[in-house]
Each structure stands twice: as C-alpha cells, then as structure tokens.
Point group: C2
Chain length 692, copies 2
C-alpha cells in the first residue's frame, strides 16, 4: 500500500527554493547527495533550476508521472498545491510545511481541508509539519527529508512521532556504523498513520527490527490491533516520551491517581508484545543486536573474557538484569582444561587470558555453543597490543555466522588502530559495544524479547453466570438521576450481579431496620454511612468496625446522624471480617482504549508504597494471574512466617469478573474494590466505589 | 611524594625485548610515540637497540640517574632486578610482570620478598601485575604503560584497580575527544596504594576530577581517611565492580543477610562524599561535565530547546532523577516574549524554535542566567541545516565561559559535518552529549555532588550515661563459656547498660517464678523460650503473646517444656505491647571497617520488601536521622490516614546508642533489635539477638 511512498519512481518538490537554507532546497540537495535513482522535479515559478536540476513552473509542467511530491510552502497555499497534485495524479504527498493542527483551531480547520481535498483525488498525505521518509535501498535511495544523516543500507527501520528524536536516533546508528532500512517521521499524521507505516514494514523482508518513538496515540485500539499483528512477525522496540507529564500531579490513594497518562502507552506495548525502553541509547544499541543476531531460547549466558574487571562488571549487570550465569558441564570444563592455558579460568566466565590466541577462543566458543545450559554468548574482548586479534576475530565471526546462539561483544579497543579486527567482527554480524554494561543491556533486551515471544497470553474467558441486565438497570437509574457516584446499595448490587463476593450487607434507613439487619447478618458488624457526598468514609468518621451488640449499634448510629449532615444518609450494616490481607482491585476508563485494571495489596501498600500493577481490560486468565505475581509484595499472598496466604484463585476471579464488568459497561469511569478482605479460603469485598 | 612516579625525568625498561609484541617493547614504543620528554633506557643484555633507542646491558650501564624503571621479565627474576634498581638509586619501579599474589601462596611470598628488598633501598614499588601510569602534561608526556590509548592533556585523572576497566574508560574519553591528566592502574598494589595515588592527585592543581574504579579495599579505614580529605577538595567519581558477588546468596531476614559484601564499599563512598556510579559510561560522561563546569547551587534546571521531542525526553529524565523544572519569573517571561519568535514557547523548557538565530538563543541564555530560581542550564540543540549554528554556538560558549551556572548540552548533530560548531562548543567548555538522557544524567551528577558538598554531616555524639563496664563483664562471661550467642537475659542486660529502652522483662526458671514475674510486670504478658539453641523463636512456637492470666501462663509454660528439648531452657516473661509499628535496628561487623548499622520497619517490610537502610558506624546524629527518612515506607513513621506516627527521636536515639555500643565492642559480630515496638510516645525493644 505504501510502496510508492517509500519507493517513489519520481519525486517533485513544490517550494524548491533557490535559497540554500530553505527546506525545499535542502530536500533537493539531499536527494542528489543520496543519489536518488529516479527523476527529481523541483517546482519553482521563478527559477530555471535548483541545485543544478531543471525546475518546473508548476507541477503540471512536469513531463512524467509524479509518485511523490513534497510541499514546503506557507500553509495557506497548501490546499491549492494539493488540489494541483491531485489533478496531476500524484500518489503520495509529504507536507513539510507547518501551520496546521499544531497552531490551534484555524490550523486544524486547514488540516481537515487538505485531507478532504486529497481524498477527493485518492492521494495520500504524509504530515503535515513533518520531516519525511528515507529509503536506503540501493535501487531506490530516496532521501525525501531535510535532515542531515545519510544512512547506509541495513535492517533497522525507524519511525518517530518527533522528528527531533528520530533524527538523533538515525544519527546514532550512523555514528555507530550501523545501517538502516527505512526512516519515517510523519508529524501531525493527518492521514498516513504510524500504524500504517509499521504494518507496511511488518511485511518488508529487509526490515528485521522496527524502532518506534511515540508521545501518544490518536487511536490506541487501532495501534493495538496493528501491534498484535506485526509484533508477532518481527521485533518492535519502542519508547514513549512524556511519561512524567502527569508525574507531577500528586498521586492519590485510588486507581485514577495511580495510573498516569503515560502508563497506558507502556501497557499497550506490554500487552501487544512490543519491547519497551526508557532510554534512546539503550534502544538503539539493542536494535543493533536484533538486526543481526538470533533470539536466545532462555536467560542463561556464557561469557568469554580476556580481562578480569570488565567481566566482573558484565556479570554484575547481567545478574542485575535478571540473566543467569550457569556453571559449565563437566564435559565442557574438561574440554577447556585441555585446550586453554593452564592459568585460564574454565568456569563461567571463561577467562582465556589476555595472551590467548585464536584456537583458545575457538575452544571457548565451541564449548559455549555446545553447552545445553547456555542460551547466549557474551564476549568480553580487549585487544592487547601483543595478540593477533584479527585471527581471533575471525573465529568469533565464524561462530556468530552459524546463528546457533546469539553472540554479542563488549569490544574494548581503539577502532582507529584495530580497523581490520573491527571489520571482521562487523562482517560477522557481531554487535560490538564500548562498555560491558551496554553489551549486557543489549543481550538482556534480546532475552526479554525471547521471553515475550514465547509467553503464554492466555484467554479472555467470559463468565456466563453474570446478570448483565440487572447491572444495566442500576446504571440507567444512576444516569437518570444525573449522578456520577453509585450509592453503596447500588454498587453492591452491581457486584452481586457479576457474582463478585461481598461481605454480607444491608442498607437501612433507621435504627430499627439496622437492628434487624445486624441480627440477621450476625454481630460483630460494621456500620457505614451511605451517602454519595461521603467518599473517603474513614476520614470523616463514617465507618465504625467491630460493633459487638445492639447497644453499641444504637450509640454509633446516633453519632453518625449527628456528625454527617446529608439528606440522603442511609446506613450500611455489614459483616465484620477481622484478619486476612487487604486487597484492592480497581478500574479506570482510558479514552479510546477501554479500561485499565489495577491490583494491589490495600492500605499502606497502595498508599505509601504504590505497590500496584496495571493491565488493560479485558484481561486474560494469564494476565489476571500475573497481576498477583507481579506486585513487589506478592510473597505475602502465599503467606509468610506462619501467617496464612490468601485464596489467590478467588482474587484472580474477582479481577476477571471486574474486567468483564467494565468491558460490558464502558460508561464506568472509575471503580475501586478497596479493600477486599482476603482470607485463606474466601475473599470478600468490604468497600466499593463506582463512578460513571 | 609521587612526583617522580608521575613526572620521571628518565625511564628505564628492564626487559625491553626486541620482539615487537612483548610488553617491554610496547612500552618503549609507547614512550616514543607519546613523545616522552626525558631519556629512555631500554635494558637488554643481548641487543644494541630497541625500537631505535640505544639499549644497555644492565641498569648499571645507564649513564644518568633513573627516576622510574619498568620491570617486565619473568617473576622469578624480579627480586634481583629490584636489588639492581635499588643499588642504582632508582626511585620508582613499575612491575608489569605477573606471577605474584594473584597466583597463590608462592607468588605471595615472592611479592613480600620484593617489597622487603625495595624498602631496603627506599625504592617505591608500583604493581606488580599491573599496567603503569600515564601523564599527559606537555612537559612530561610519560606513557609508562603498555595500553594503546594516547590521551590529550585535560583535567580528568583516572585510577583503576582493574587495568581492563581503566583502559576502556581511557579509550572512552579519547573517543569523545576529551582530555585526561593522569592515568594509573597499579594491579596487586604491593606498595603504592590507590589511596596514596588519589591523595597525590588531590593536591594536583590540573586534576579537576578523579575517576576511580575499585573491586574492594585492602584497608577500608585508610581509604576512608583519604577520601574524607580529598573529596572535600575535588570531586571523586567512583564505581565498584563485583557488587552482585553476594547477590546470589539468598538473603535472610536479618542484618547479616541483607548487607552484601559490596554494600560496604558504596557506603564508604556515601559517607566520605564520593559520588557513586553503577555504569561506566554514565561515570565518564559525568566526569566530562565536572572537568569544565561549575557545581550547581540547587536542583532547578532551566532548559532551552529548538525541537520538541528531545526536550520532552530531557524533562522525563530530569524529573526521574529528582531535578526540578521551575516556572520562569514574569520578568523573565516578558523579556523572552519581547525577544523570541511569536510562536516560541516562553515557559520552561524555552522552545526558541528550530528557525531561531543567535540573538534568540542569547536572550534565552541570559534569561536563565538571571533567573534566581534556576540553578543550571540544559541546552537541547539540534543543528538544523537552515540555521547559522556557529553564531548560535558562540553565544552558548560565551555564557558557559562566564561560569555563573553550569551549562550542558544535548548536542544533536553530525559532528563530521558541523565541525566548526562542534569546536566552538568544545572550546567553550560545554560538555556535549549525544542523547537527552545522558545529558540529564550528567547534569544530575553535578547536582548530586552539589548536594553532597553542602550537606550537613552532623556529629558523632557520645552518651555518657552508659555503663560500659557492665556490658564488658557480660561479654567476658560469654567469651569464657565459649559461646557466640548471648542468652536473652545477657542481651537485655547489655541493652539496659546502654540505656536502650526494653519492654519490662524477667527471665525465670520455673512456673512459680514466672507467675510472680508476670504479676509484677502486669498482664497481658509475652512468654518466650530462652535458649541459645532457639534463634528464630516464632518458627518453633517458642513465643506466645497476649497471655492474659495465670491459667494461660501455666498452660503455655507446660507446652514449651514439652516441645522444646533444651537443657538450658528458661522462660522470659515480658510485657505485651500490642499496636504500634515494628522497627528493626541491627548491626553487623565488617572486617577492617567496623560495623554496618541497619534500620528498617520490621516484619514484612524487612522480610518481603527488603526496605532497609545501612550506614557505617559510628553514625552522626544527622546520619541516624537520615536512616529513618531514607526508607521507602518512611511516611509510616509519621503516621498516615488516622494511624498514629512513632516517636522518631526515640528511634534515632536507639540507633545512636547501638552505634556507640558496637563501636565500644568490636567483638560484636551481629546484633538485631527485632522488633522494636514503636509507639507514639515511646519505643521498646521486645526482642534482641546478639552474636559475638
């Protein structure tokens, strides 16, 4: 679909000025410099040539077809230019000009106008307010962009919402001597979206890894759909800018406050199998490994080193990143004993010593390739002035090219002196890093992706025993009365409709009814004020626990009536459940996405330690189970030092039922089951808040 | 003291072979290549010249004085060579040869022998099993090392215990075009220590920042003494390798298990004001900022950018690292409104727009220099092909050279194309980074150091009300009876001698005594089995809490007698204190250093969340107070949501008294007050374990 955008047979530049620093001029220069294979048509009403290329007064004067046109003229002239392009039959239009959506309502109207015009002619728009695209294919060499980095052919494709970030990433690959396949930065993205670009690259054979930078999604669900599809085919590495936008806002104790806006983006990455990064350098360095190395089957690393300190640091970093450094088999050790210097270390890391020669390295490499308990190979290679490093590098390259296990290298040298060695490693597809930490991080990224690729996703299983229409009626009532918050009675009824276990309860108007209810439920009971105006009940003294008899109940009800002046004040009588762990399950609507679900241990764990985990609804059975195991204090759920654990299956079921509830009712804005008292056998919701 | 080591007027190389790949030959080559200013004397019994330099048969044949001699001959010949050097009057000897302490007892003996010989002659030894030293001073140019990186003069001095790590760090500075002052890697360090080297550099005017890599300390206390002294004069940036050595060992619930071996090194760094890093790249990049920029007065950053995305990432990263992005003053904003483009953003970050020219940048720079609420300046500078970047860079350089506030730059360009701009920034002393994250990390390091430099250290105040001799008697008794663990009675008596508040207690032999004690203490009480063989009492049912009356007490004592078969079984009756927070204070001996103190919240906070903090004893009042405020759950100590806080002053006093106790008694191996019940007014130790 986007073939002619990335591989245009001809390019016109509307606004190709003769001023050397103008964008149209720079694009013309870039196309020439990059040796674009098709004809270039600068469009300029006042010049005969631009950068030595024949210019045309209008696009209609161009003799041949135009696959792709740049527009870099003031925004007010852009609609007419698109009209002209349409008439000429241009397929793709990159609008470099700014002055659209990003400048306010007027620009937004202008942007809508150009989309309308383009549609009329079936032309596709890229931008506006954007850089453009690059295709390094030797048969195309399209540099339709005003940036300044000229990538060699390679297998990494980069798409960035921010041109500044994209340019820096591209420059990094260039500085590292690593090739790229495609580049795209589409600015306002009025028509062609990042989703469409990535989907196109998903089917591009020469793109082995996709690097993505975003600051948000116009269409989160559309992105997810694409991401599921493409991430199953090839690795997507992604980073999200603006994650602390909301970080400044004080977090409150509830789901809404704990889920910053940035969170949903990273949750989308997680759910769809995209590898998330928080550092551009780390993402770039990982991409290099993905571009040439296979994905490891597990997290067990075998190291070969010729110097001590960097291997220690590598071990520190690998262990920190969750990788394992297994012992070698007796067979492997005996082989090494036979082949290496007497002083060499035949453990893992294998220290071949700085004086080692090619056969020593080869023996170590072969050992690690053959070891069943090793999934990947980490080389720690300093180039001693007294070693024949080229013959050593040849052995490394040969083993790397076997593609049996990933091989990466912390390559400690002066590349300007060791040019031959450096080239051998590069031709062998061995990703080389300047420091042990970065090499470890890149290997960890490969490993993390291997884990994602083979993970069990599970199924979203529906509960058929829920009473959806009962819940629907309640929500309708609340909407009718123009309220956002459900009363306790309404909220508990919704939970019961979805078979979520709640502690025995009854809402009453008077002391008399309260007494009857308490007797039926059985003392001790909890008394709560039920009024939509009272949210954080414990702050206003609206919750009294462990009421043991009728007399106390009378006294407390009188107290509530005196303290809380609310016309709608009712009393909720509930079974008092001492002991157990407090859990919290919550949900929060996320525009364009659905809901985020939250799970955590209640009380201080959520309020002080923020030890909570989020997932996007609907969750699968596996995801719901992961929510329990991913919190930091998850051991508490299993019980510790004589304390009993909780019914985890029950908690997982509550999460899944809440997932189904919020998916059934998109109107739910926020809900919290806080706390759920989790006992060894059963879990009971003892407080709930639902906002629509 | 080490003047002639780093600035030798002549260098001899014992073992200067004619084989090109031999170490002695490489050192000769390096001295020549680096243009060493003094005479070079290769010592070789069989050659007339090495690398074109006249060689001498023995060191005695050398015509002039020898300040510094390299020895790179097999280890067994080293003693004689040192003897010869001594006789010749050589001041410093770098022993590159391996085969000493690192190969076992025989090598260790050889190492002792050479130290003995050198002492006899007053010669100082560097190494053995080491690289050597480099001095980039244009008047010296001493490259007494076999490595391959030839640094330009600069202000960063690097010392590394591991030569491999040192070489990589040196190469990194070289690749980044950043100069160095000194380099040293002293291997086995049999005589000249890292402490001595750093102390020497502390007084070297041209060394502005010291970069240190260690894997451990032979003399932790000596290192601390030096570090206090030098870190007060100039920044020391340090990293420790091998921090996960102990990470593999399963942590237990007590102080011993939570304090890994690596920890004490980082605690030494913290206590003495050394800036710790966990990533070499980050340490190197920070060093570059330290080498040319002043230290910021606070953590408030003003940003100037000409592109959106990277400024967003910079903000994310700065905020993550604890820096603030304050709003600008009205005056500042008005000034900017007047000077910048209409579409520019006059908030912080100030977006001057990609089309901005030098005067726009200067206006933004001047604004940030003048803003009182801004402590440092972060430039986010992409070089658009349509901008006059050199004139912009000149403004940046000029403001940087004012040295009023630190200026760092995320410099997004192709340095091969923008050579002029790059040189202007470099000459302006502006540290340039390839990615916003790294620039933010470097600025955060400067800021972190500013905070360390101005921090209050506090005082180690002695309590004079302690009864040291009473405690001493108890420890003597325990030693006499060949025990390691104190009984409960002994441990509580030690605490009482140091006026550490304990819950009312009495140790008894029989039920009858128990009954009297319980009555006196007042029910409810706790009953504990007191036997050195029972450590984790709650695991064996040896602790019964909340015993309300005599009958229950009888029953439980009988139970204990039945269940615990220990000849030394006694019963500890203690006041039962329900409610409050559980705290834990512990101490652990650290060889060569003293003790580490630990503080945390007890129970799951220590066992599951490992939320504890360590400091080296003796702690000052400020440090003890920091221990409370540094745990993640510190808010709990202040009380939260209606729950009461604890007596923090009391807890701080307990830490300080324990600090005094372990400092008074180095024989204490491990002790834990776990838990201390912390109430609003008072804290009481309710369980204690002391091991000597």
């Amino acid at each position: 679909m986007l073939d002619l955008l990335f591989s245009p047979k001809s390019v016109a530049i509307i606004g190709a000025s003769t001023k050397e620093l103008s964008i149209g001029n720079v694009i013309t220069k870039n196309l020439l410099h990059y040796k674009y294979k098709g004809p270039i048509y600068p469009i300029n009403p006042n010049a005969d040539e631009v950068r030595g290329v024949k210019a045309y007064k209008t696009i209609f004067d161009v003799p041949g077809d135009v696959d792709l046109a740049h527009i870099s003229i003031p925004s007010k002239f852009v609609p007419q230019a698109i009209e002209d392009c349409g008439k000429k039959g241009v397929k793709f239009i990159i609008i470099n000009s700014a002055g659209f959506k990003e400048v306010g309502p007027e620009g937004e109207a202008l942007e809508k106008e150009i989309v309308f015009i383009a549609k009329k002619y079936g032309a596709r728009l890229f931008g506006p307010n954007c850089q453009g695209i690059i295709n390094s294919d030797p048969d195309v060499r399209a540099y339709c962009d005003f940036t300044f980095t000229f990538p060699d052919p390679g297998h990494i494709s980069v798409v960035a919402q921010s041109g500044g970030v994209g340019a820096v990433i591209m420059q990094r690959f260039f500085d590292l001597g690593v090739g790229m396949r495609f580049y795209a930065s589409n600015g306002n993205a009025c028509d062609i979206s990042i989703e469409e670009i990535i989907r196109f690259w998903g089917d591009d054979e020469k793109t082995r890894v996709i690097v993505l930078y975003v600051e948000g999604f116009a269409d989160p669900k559309g992105f997810m759909e694409m991401a599921y599809e493409v991430a199953a085919k090839k690795p997507i590495l992604a980073m999200r800018g603006g994650r602390t936008e909301e970080g400044a806002k004080a977090a409150t104790s509830h789901t809404g406050g704990l889920a910053g806006i940035g969170l949903s983006t990273e949750l989308i990455f997680e759910k769809t199998g995209i590898l998330t990064f928080r550092d551009e350098e780390e993402m770039c360095q990982a991409a290099i490994a993905f571009a040439s190395q296979p994905i490891p089957k597990g997290n067990r690393v075998g190291l070969i080193t010729d110097t001590g300190g960097p291997a220690i640091i590598a071990t520190d970093e690998l262990v920190d990143l969750g990788l394992e450094i297994p012992s070698l088999s007796e067979k492997g050790k005996n082989f090494l004993k036979d082949k290496l210097y007497a002083d060499a270390s035949i453990n893992n890391p294998i220290d071949v010593l700085a004086t080692a020669a090619a056969p020593h390295y080869r023996a170590a490499l072969d050992t690690l390739i053959n070891e069943e308990q090793v999934d990947s190979i980490y080389l720690n290679f300093v180039t001693p002035p007294f070693a024949d490093t080229e013959s050593i590098a040849k052995e490394m390259a040969e083993v790397s090219l076997q593609k049996k296990k990933p091989v990466i290298c912390n390559y400690m040298t002066d590349k300007a002196q060791w040019t031959g060695t450096t080239k051998i490693l590069k031709d062998g597809g061995i990703p080389c890093y300047d420091f042990p930490e970065m090499a470890a991080k890149a290997l960890a990224a490969l490993t993390r992706f291997g884990k994602i690729r083979t993970r069990k996703i599970g199924e979203v299983k529906q509960f058929n025993d829920v009473d959806k229409s009962k819940a629907e009626k309640i929500f309708l009532e609340v909407q009718k009365s123009n309220r956002q918050l459900l009363t306790a009675q309404e909220a508990y009824n919704v939970l019961e409709a979805y078979k979520i276990p709640v502690a025995d309860w009854k809402v009453v108007d008077s002391f008399k009814e309260a007494e009857i209810a308490a007797k039926k439920i059985g003392y001790p009971v909890v008394l709560k004020a039920d009024s939509v105006s009272v949210i954080h009940k414990s702050d206003v003294g609206g919750v009294i626990t462990n009421i043991k008899d009728k007399n106390s109940l009378t006294k407390y009800i009188e107290g509530l009536q005196k303290n809380i002046e609310a016309k709608d004040l009712k009393f909720l009588i509930q079974k008092y459940l001492p002991g157990g762990r407090e859990l919290i399950v919550g949900a929060k609507a996320e525009p364009g996405l659905g809901h985020l679900l939250m799970f955590g241990l209640g009380g201080i764990f959520v309020e002080v330690l923020k030890d909570v985990i989020f997932k996007i609804a609907p969750v699968t059975d596996v995801e719901a189970s992961e929510m329990l195991s991913s919190i930091k204090a998850s051991k508490l759920l299993d019980g510790i030092r004589g304390e009993k654990g909780v019914n985890k299956e029950g908690a997982i079921e509550i999460i899944r039922r809440i997932s189904q509830l919020v998916t059934d009712f998109p109107l739910i804005q926020e809900m919290d089951l806080n706390p759920i008292v989790a006992l060894e056998k059963n879990n009971f919701v003892v407080d709930v808040r639902i906002k629509i």
